[in-house]
């Protein structure tokens, strides 16, 4: 027989909300960083050594199946080539490293979010550390993309900026919650 009382919890409201938002965003961001990791790996490992892309292969049956026109099919090859030409040599490796750290931190934020909802003693400090880490990854990615060119900036910058703002909000929320709890404890002691 096991029982755990979930209703009479001492979790403050801010921790419950912050925890769930951290979990939701963490799940989404783990998937996004994971995709970025695969994207860079696939693009670098499949580019022809000569740098010249082969002709697009667009059989009519495949076009119908994909729901695209011949022009769109040919554009897919041109698009990949355009991205490859806009990508500096150092960029894929940098993005892969940052995406790997981002994936781990994002998954950690799912665990930390659960700890916040249960309001474990270490949850707020751990949340602040993880949110700082995630915001730092965003800043480093932002700096890396700024040093590329207009095509990659258009692809990445708005999304990185949005994630940075979200992580900043989570970080400030965790700090504010910590201050509120410290003030409450002081009041109780007095």
């Amino acid at each position: 027989m096991v029982s755990n009382d979930l209703n009479n919890s001492s979790t403050p409201n801010w921790a419950s909300i912050l925890g769930v938002v951290a979990i939701m965003l963490g799940v989404f961001l783990t998937a996004m960083h994971g995709t970025e990791l695969m994207k860079q790996s696939v693009m670098t490992s499949n580019m022809p050594v000569s740098g010249v892309m082969p002709e697009a292969d667009c059989p009519l049956g495949e076009l119908d199946e994909e729901g695209i026109t011949l022009e769109q099919c040919e554009f897919l090859v041109d698009y990949v080539q355009g991205i490859a030409q806009s990508t500096p040599d150092w960029f894929p490796d940098t993005m892969m490293k940052l995406a790997l750290v981002g994936t781990l931190l994002a998954f950690a934020s799912v665990i930390i979010g659960g700890a916040l909802v249960n309001y474990t003693p270490w949850s707020t400090t751990a949340a602040i550390a993880v949110f700082i880490g995630l915001a730092a990854v965003d800043l480093l990615q932002f700096a890396a993309v700024v040093m590329t060119g207009p095509l990659l900036r258009d692809m990445y910058l708005w999304s990185i900026l949005l994630w940075f703002l979200l992580h900043l909000m989570l970080l400030v929320g965790a700090i504010a919650g910590r201050h509120t709890e410290a003030a409450r404890i002081q009041r109780d002691v007095a």
């Binding site: 919890s9 419950s16 769930v20 495949e62 099919c73």
Partner: protein
């Protein structure tokens, strides 16, 4: 007396499934924009194999999760946390989500089974072919896969909204799936 929250294995599997499902959605939008495959253009090979493998693994994980869910059921939510109509809606939404995850994965596999491309399970062994390449069947199952995935995404949005609703209320519901 039953444990009020879900079994720990169910909790871990739930979050693993959540991350995998979002990865499948996000990565599929990107990989469908890669050049169509040819002998020289192999951009799609790895992402498609990975997509299929995660999808097939999801089916196994979901079966394990449901087994654990029913073997170690949590106590029903208290009336103050969830009104009867909310509880009924939540049960229906969960059944629909589980059913759709199965359907999306199986229709994706059947679509792939009707192409000329084999499925290699985690790069270890190739699944035996269950059908010859057939463009019509590939398209039929492919469309079902796509549309059911959109419906699944809509239901996940409802599911997430429910979780956020309970987090704002700071009630016992949210802690049932947050037990590490």
């Amino acid at each position: 007396m039953q444990r009020q929250g879900f079994n720990r294995a169910v909790v871990v599997l739930h979050w693993l499934l959540a991350v995998s499902i979002f990865f499948l959605f996000i990565s599929s939008w990107w990989m469908m924009g890669l050049p169509l495959p040819s002998e020289e253009l192999q951009f799609r090979a790895f992402p498609f194999q990975l997509h299929k493998n995660i999808g097939l693994t999801l089916v196994v994980l979901l079966i394990v999760m449901l087994y654990m869910r029913f073997k170690y059921p949590p106590a029903p939510p208290s009336a103050q946390d969830m009104t009867p109509w909310m509880h009924k809606s939540a049960i229906l939404a969960h059944i629909a989500i589980y059913g759709l995850i199965f359907f999306v994965c199986i229709s994706g596999y059947l679509s792939s089974a009707h192409t000329k491309w084999d499925t290699t399970v985690w790069w270890l062994f190739t699944l035996p072919r269950i059908a010859e390449a057939n463009e019509d069947m590939n398209e039929f199952w492919g469309e079902l896969h796509t549309y059911s995935a959109w419906i699944l995404l809509a239901l996940i949005a409802v599911h997430v909204s429910g979780a956020i609703y309970h987090s704002y209320r700071n009630d016992g519901i949210i802690r049932r799936m947050m037990r590490w």
